[in-house]
């Protein structure tokens, strides 16, 4: 589906992947987390091919949050505990870290004991972000994190994501088709259309051009 993709994602910045549905945004994120592998070509992290990393360790460093939030069985705390266990968190550090990620994801710590199934979609999406943070990733990939949310919740989640980038110095890649929303926080942008990168670079320039492109239409 993706073809001739040659792009760099800068460290410690928020990069947005923009483009119409089916353009290849999700496919690219899945390649970065190695849920899929490219048929041809190579993806490098710190100059080393993704294939040369231990795949489970790579996925903890490059965390992916899906478009539709997935809750594991049990409470919010149980969900975070799964990630803590996978991240090799020491016993005794859990409470501190879980409180921290809940705050980072702007979730009330009182939700920790709530069953995951009882939360709203917006809360589930934030729990999914918090859960991903439990493995202390360097890169956070977010696939259309706001697509199921109303505009207000969506703006608030994007603000949270921006905060994460500032406080944690995380490299964040957000796939979205909402250009206006993306341009508010994006520092770097990549436009994907029909599986090809049609433009990439400074967000202000790229997204400005993309908005025009959208406005004139095919």
């Amino acid at each position: 589906m993706l073809q001739d993709v040659d792009a760099t994602i800068p460290r410690h910045l928020i990069t947005v992947l923009c483009g119409p549905s089916g353009g290849g945004k999700t496919s690219l994120l899945r390649l970065l987390n190695r849920l899929d592998d490219p048929v041809r070509g190579e993806i490098l992290l710190d100059g080393t091919s993704l294939n040369d990393y231990n795949v489970t360790e790579l996925r903890r460093r490059v965390a992916l949050v899906f478009q539709s939030p997935v809750m594991f069985s049990g409470t919010v705390s149980d969900n975070l505990a799964v990630a803590a266990e996978l991240g090799g968190l020491q016993e005794g550090q859990f409470d501190e870290l879980s409180d921290e990620v809940m705050l980072l994801a702007e979730l009330d710590p009182s939700l920790l004991e709530r069953p995951g199934g009882e939360l709203s979609v917006g809360q589930k999406q934030r729990v999914n972000v918090a859960r991903a943070l439990m493995t202390s990733p360097e890169v956070l990939l977010l696939d259309e994190p706001t697509s199921a949310l109303d505009p207000e919740t969506s703006r608030s989640l994007m603000k949270t994501i921006h905060g994460l980038s500032e406080e944690r110095r995380l490299t964040i890649v957000v796939a979205t088709h909402r250009v206006a929303e993306a341009s508010e926080y994006a520092e770097h942008a990549l436009i994907l259309r029909d599986g090809r990168v049609v433009d990439s670079g400074d967000a202000e320039r790229v997204l400005g051009g993309f908005a025009d492109l959208e406005a004139t239409g095919p």
Partner: protein, 270 residues
């Protein structure tokens, strides 16, 4: 009065003649009649099934007479392996989806699950002598294999279903850095439960709701009911072991086929 002096135990077993069997055909005619009356489409199935029952069992009867008479270990082992092959094929044939490799996995599961159970029972419990005595090994293996086959088929079917319905959850585990074993823990647990519940249930109700065929057969054949129940107890326990081993081997072997070496979930096959 001890049980041994009960008159019933001294009764010789009533032999069934071919004429008696012909009379028994009336029972199948009742089933065919009911099926035809309500147009269930099963009348032909009953007729064909009845004919197959007669042919298959007669064939097996003569085969057993032959194997008992020749009394050679390799004939007994060959018969057991043939049963194993047929059971493996039958378990896979019941699946909606039959990926390549499932037959091999099922074969190994039934070989280990049923084989180890048979060895345990025949060597350590029943003390079969000589070790290949077909009068014991073949009926014991038949019972073990039948149950292990059902468990293997149920386990494989359920695992596939769970892996399909839980794709998003499994990928969420993988994306967090879980390996395939951790990611598929819930589907594996559910497949094992589904395949072992019938055996647990039968342990609960045996003798109350159901009188097992083997025990009934032994009693009809003139055995002391107290000997028959001891055999049945062994049988129930051995079925537990065969079912658990076959199910767990199928599930663990089959699970691997859903993932790539890079801990990626393979695309759904149709």
């Amino acid at each position: 009065m001890s049980l041994q002096t009960l008159d019933v135990l001294d009764e010789p077993m009533l032999d069934l003649t071919w004429i008696d069997l012909t009379v028994a055909v009336g029972l199948v005619l009742i089933a065919i009649g009911v099926s035809g009356w309500h147009r269930t489409g099963l009348a032909k199935g009953f007729a064909v099934g009845a004919i197959r029952t007669v042919l298959q069992l007669t064939l097996v009867g003569y085969l057993l007479v032959y194997i008992f008479a020749i009394d050679r270990w390799y004939l007994v082992v060959a018969a057991l392996l043939l049963m194993l092959a047929v059971a493996s094929k039958a378990a896979v044939d019941r699946q909606d989806s039959k990926p390549s490799g499932l037959l091999g996995i099922t074969g190994v599961a039934l070989l280990l699950g049923s084989g180890l159970t048979l060895i345990y029972v025949s060597v350590m419990v029943v003390h079969v002598d000589p070790w290949y005595n077909p009068r014991y090994l073949i009926p014991l293996f038949g019972m073990i294999l039948g149950n292990a086959m059902n468990a293997a088929a149920l386990a494989a079917d359920r695992l596939r279903g769970e892996m399909e319905t839980r794709r998003a959850e499994i990928e969420a585990y993988l994306a967090l850095g879980a390996d395939s074993v951790r990611a598929a823990r819930e589907p594996v647990r559910r497949a094992l439960r589904a395949s072992m519940i019938p055996t647990v249930n039968s342990l609960m109700v045996v003798g109350i709701v159901s009188l097992p065929g083997m025990m009934t057969g032994q009693i009809l054949a003139g055995s002391d009911p107290l000997v028959a129940i001891r055999y049945q107890i062994v049988v129930m326990f051995m079925l537990g072991s065969a079912v658990a081993l076959a199910a767990v081997i199928v599930v663990l072997g089959y699970r691997r086929t859903f993932f790539t070496a890079a801990e990626q979930l393979r695309p759904e096959s149709s």
